[in-house]
Amino acid sequence: MSAMTAPAPATNGPLVVLDGVHTYYGKSHILHGVSLTVERGEVVGLLGRNGVGKSTTLKTIMGLVQPRQGRVALEGNVIAGQAPHKLARRGIGYVPEDRRIFRFLSVMENLRTGLDRAGMTPQRRQALLDKVFAFFPVLAERRGQAGGTLSGGEQQMLAIARAMMLEPKIILLDEPTEGLMPRMVSQIRNIIELLHNEGVAILLVEQNVPLTLAASQRIYIMEKGAVRHHCAASEIDVHDPVIKQYLGV
Amino acid sequence: MTTAPLDKGTALKELPLGKSGLSHTAVYWIGFCAVMAALIAAPFALPPFWLRFLTEVLIWGLLAMSSDLLIGYTGMISFGHSAFFGLGMYGAAGALLIVSPPNLWLAIVFGLLGAAGAALFVAFFSTRLRDIYFAITTLIFSQIFYVIIFTWTAVTGGENGLIFTRPHFTIPFLVNARFTATTLHWFVLAVVAGSYLILRRVTQSPFGMVLQSIRENEPRTRAIGYAVERYKMVSVMLSGLFAGLAGVLYAVQNEFAAPDFVYFLTSGDTVIFNVLGGIGTLVGPIVGAGFFQLARQLLAQWFGDQFPYLIPLGIVFVAVIIFLPQGILGFARRWLNR
């Protein structure tokens, strides 16, 4: 549970590596040899239509599904097969599609699920809470309220804040803007930038192309369970034929 | 329970030929006949104690088989079979005590009626409940019957139960003979084998297919349009009837009825037979019953009567659930159901 038991990170390599990962749900073959990397502190976008396996990729990294084949590594150490709670403590934060905040727990208790860790002195706890409440003032206001009573946008913020409680090295963000008003979308954009400035890597799964291109350094595009295209975000824009090919209606 | 996916098409496809060139049907019936032959010949090969033991195993096997209809085919775990078994036993006892000379067929009828009554009661309340709730309420209901039988001393003999004499085997105008150990064994065998064949027919019929569909995916089955509650009720009734029949046979064989058999532990034993032998196979539970009783008997013989045989057997049971959920015959499940 503490930093002492985690294996020493391999220096200089990418933070997260997927190599030829095949994942199945029962008999359904969802990921057909997915390969991608995320460097330390980088924002990487993962684009693709519905059902191509983007969420499954995130779940594989988080250990919520086990790959049948292929390599998943965090800081050079293979993590496939490890329990999700261990990976969370090793520094992977997960913000799922549909947020999945603990509805019957208060905002503060939601945060506590990540905050109550070994090695968290009262000072560190307070500092972390202060930082997160500075990011999300509205959560400070609502800290005693039950999670289920928050609005959609507030729940999204709580989900991200909760992941931040783990002081993660990378946050897996699954469609954070889904179902949110445009005003909230730009707020998400700001949050991603703030996190990036903090040095947290982000693997961003999104259907919102402009947001993804603006926020990421590199992007991958998936189709039918595999990566089909990979480039720097600056090399491509919304009207690129590649975008139309893999994401067009 | 991990269950194999339902394969509705099998009944319709042509049966493939086995490696030896024989069709599945042929192999199955040859096997069946071989087993029957061995069981028929048993009285000539076994000493009296073991013959009686075998006969009793067959009766427990029938009880376990009836339970398999619910657990293995409909997907409902029931702890209520002690009630059906017990009421079958007491019903038969009633017939044998009230009517003189005691009549075998009347005993069967009374026993089946008693069991049917219990089954109706259980079915009415329980079939609306799913899974865990159903299991718990069947447990509680079997205890209700236990309490009634235990306290209604005037009718049921209370704690001491009822004692009666074994009826003769009679076919009007043709036969009137006392049962010997051998003929009783054959009679029990005939009833159990007949029940097996009937149940097999039922599970392979369209009705049986719906039951299995309920087991696999109840909401789906309901969505398709089947009146799931009704199928469940019929399943409980059928299961209860055969359990009651086992109770009648037990009464006839042992000439007494006791409330112990209505205690929910009997239901527990039944479930153990099912799980050990393999649910969803009909034959598996009989094997499970045999295995359990044999182990129990051997442990008593080797270590003495006071040996708590349920400790090792209980551990085996839990281990089977964890490591071998299909049970002893589970591997043959699809084969046995074709």
Binding site: L105 | T2, P308
Partner: protein, 298 residues
Amino acid sequence: MGTIGTFLHAIPLDLIIIQTVNGIVAGMILALIASGLTLIFGIMDVVNFAHGELFMLGAYMGFVVFVATGSFWLALIGASLIVAILGAALQIVALRPLIGRDPLNTILATFGISLVLQNYALWQFGPVVRKIPEPISAEFTLFYLQYPWYRILITVLSAAIIGGFWLYLKYGRLGVWIRATAQDRVMAQAMGIPVPLVYTGVFAIGAAMAAASGVLFAPMVGVSHTMGLDWVLKAFIVVVVGGMGNFLGSIVAAIFISLLEAYATIWLDPSQAVIVSFVVLILTLLFRPTGLFVATPR
């Protein structure tokens, strides 16, 4: 008006009060047993058939510790700890492998465990009923009875244990973990909560509650290997009537049913009074199957 008056006169008021007290005493013990069951079911989705046996073993362990130390309170604490550890061990060995499988597997597994535990107790301690004496033998006068203070004590203690645990669930660190795990097991894991450990802990706590009630109740009824059987059924009825997984509901149901049974014994034989709980169950299943005391029937 006259008939009502005659009817009221016919009911012995002092008997009613005595039975109310008895009902609440029995109800609190039942509540303690049932809340352990509810906890385990509500958090882990496990129907713990072995709960009655944990209650029984708690009483036996209490007896053993009492014989060794002469202190009732050490017996209470010691038994709870021993059974908590036993419960944790059982969960790790037999129930963890079954996580994710059809929940009926756990019913069967816990049933198997209950058989083993029961027969172990019979084998180890024999059929003789053991006695743990009450820690306080003072009595007070309740109408025409000498009523033992001890019974009031166990009522208060049971309530304290339940209340203490409820507070811990609400405010303690493990409490947040437990509630998060109960609501969303997968997300709890993604938040770094060691869910397998939480499950083991919950089972251990439930076992400890069962054991504590065993020790508390032992001076009243004596310790025997069939204790568990008698109570587990009632506990299950309470859990169903209270609404499965509903902590508060099971407590209310326990007291409700115990009160009804206590009143019933004014007119009925005790062995027939159990019918009351059966009737309540049947009515609940007929009209409010999700539980009599559930706030909004789902």
